[in-house]
Amino acid sequence: MFEYYKIKEREVTHKDYNTLNLGPIHPATHCVFQNKLTMDGEIVIEAEQTIGYVHRALEKMAERKAYYQISTLTDRMNYCSSPINNFGWEMTVEKLCGIELPKRVEYMRVIIMELSRIADHLLCNSVIGVDSGALTGFVYLFQDREKIYEIFEEICGARLTTNIGRIGGFERNFNNNVWTKLDSFLKEYPKHLKEFENLLVRNRIFMDRTINVGSISADKALNYGFTGPCLRATGVDFDIRVSNPYSSYEDFDFIIPVGTNGDTYDRFMVRQEEMWQSLNIINQAVDKINKIQNEIYHADTPLYYLPQKQDVYTKMEALIWHFKIVMGETSIPVGEVYHCVEGANGELGFYLISDGGRTPYRLHFRRPCFIYYQAYPELIKGGFLSDAILTMSSLNVISGELDA
């Protein structure tokens, strides 16, 4: 591998190298990325990234949208786990306005967030399988993703871009279907996940394809701003759920899996273990909710919580609050707040500057993908093209989040 770095210093001529456009639209890149690769046969010498193909100016749009409307923008970032994005934004506003949520609401959020983490990780891991030639696991696990989406559908009516929850809690309580579907998911999924692990974890072909592919050291990863499973695969136990607990994560007992090499296999294993931990957290949260006697599903903050539509039509108070919130008559505190949640890809941050108006003065999203995807050329240099594909899918770069 070392000699190829030396070749790089020589004059690039057409005879020596080929240029290969990987993307922007290619089935193996899974999203819209372009990488202009300089190839020596099968070996990647240099990669030049072009991003921004699905840039939608979310930050600029957020400056013209009222606070309760912005959650529709956030779930278009990481659309594989959009509830985490939604809750992250709602928690940012709650932090700004000083809204305290009842424990039950926070546990409900934890259930949804962990479900979406599972949905995201299982998609990523099964796609690593696909890229290394094992389509079975992908098709097999997708039925469970479907079940998670059915739960989301019961709660908010949407599947992919969920816009779940409201500032101050949930739009409505979980109905019985949610609990039965969640129950059957919690019973069925461990078996399927176990089978998926049997298929890949000690599979010789899979291990040969992934071990020592696209590895990065812990120091470099931190310098590149890695967070989430990609950072933990290098051995750094940094997880926002533990270091800066939000939504009552401090009440739960779970472990943070870490890897050692920071290669594709470690990233796969960290995600795999995180799914087990997420199941564990969901079980704990369900137990905790069952112990709580009330049926509260939102905080008592009429100033910020959009009332239920049914109440708006029948109760005068609710109509007044609805009108005030929609017309921007409620007072939003002036201030700056940074809030971050542990998204499926890492630290998903919202930096909100409020000038007291109806809309944010400035809203900046810290998108984990955007920050760590810039290390991609370094990860694939000197490796094979087929490994570059695997590395990209193990980074789980979501173009919606990358381009915002």
Binding site: I51, G52, H55, A57, E59, K60, M61, E63, R64, A66, K95, L96, K220, L222, N223, Y224, G225, V236, F238, S243, N244, M327, G328, G335, E336, V337, Y338, C340, E347, G349, Y351, I353, G357, R358, T359, R362, H364, R366, F370, I371, Y372, Y373, Q374, A375, D403, A404
Partner: protein
């Protein structure tokens, strides 16, 4: 109450004041986060110091973003969020300058992560980062000739007169 966090905050302020004196213009606590406004000439040294100082170790760049205030003299600025993983402590560093000459030092030599974040800030605010290895647009098309996140560029098409949003928030 004198918590560990407050102790850290005071520690940082005193260390930075000793080291940089008048360069530290202003500091405040906003929602539990220490927010320091510094002179733009000391940005690089200050962040380098925070990175290297053994007791502080701010070795993780969380975000870097631009900001534009229309109605102040030094209207354009850069905001850095730094995180010390050893102390689990976050600080926010701000610096402002005039919009006619929006030049800031690049911190890509300290943090590799700053590379794309600075390109993004250049792309949206037109802030030029000196000594950046590859300062060009990243998310927008290469040939646009304006900086879309600056406040003077409205989100709506200005040539339309059939939409009047004045009664909703900002005009």
């Amino acid at each position: 109450m004198f918590s560990i966090k407050e102790e850290l905050n005071n520690n940082i302020i005193s260390k930075l004041t000793i080291r940089f004196g008048n360069g530290i213009l202003f500091h405040e606590l906003s929602y539990d986060t220490l927010c320091i406004t510094i002179d733009k000439n000391i940005i690089f040294d200050c962040i380098d110091y925070l990175y290297k100082e053994e007791t502080l170790k701010y070795r993780f760049l969380t975000t870097l973003c631009g900001i534009h205030y229309l109605d102040s003299e030094k209207s354009i600025g850069v905001i850095y969020h730094l995180h010390s993983l050893t102390n689990n402590h976050r600080i926010r560093i701000k610096s402002f300058t005039e919009i006619e000459n929006p030049v800031f030092p690049s911190i890509t030599t300290i943090f590799n992560a700053a590379n794309w974040m600075e390109r993004e800030t250049y792309d949206f605010f037109g802030i030029i980062f000196e000594n950046h290895p590859n300062l060009k647009r990243i998310l927008n098309a290469d040939d646009i000739n304006y900086f879309p996140m600056r406040k003077e560029y409205p989100i709506e098409d200005t040539t339309r007169d059939d939409k009047n949003d004045n009664m909703f928030g900002r005009s």
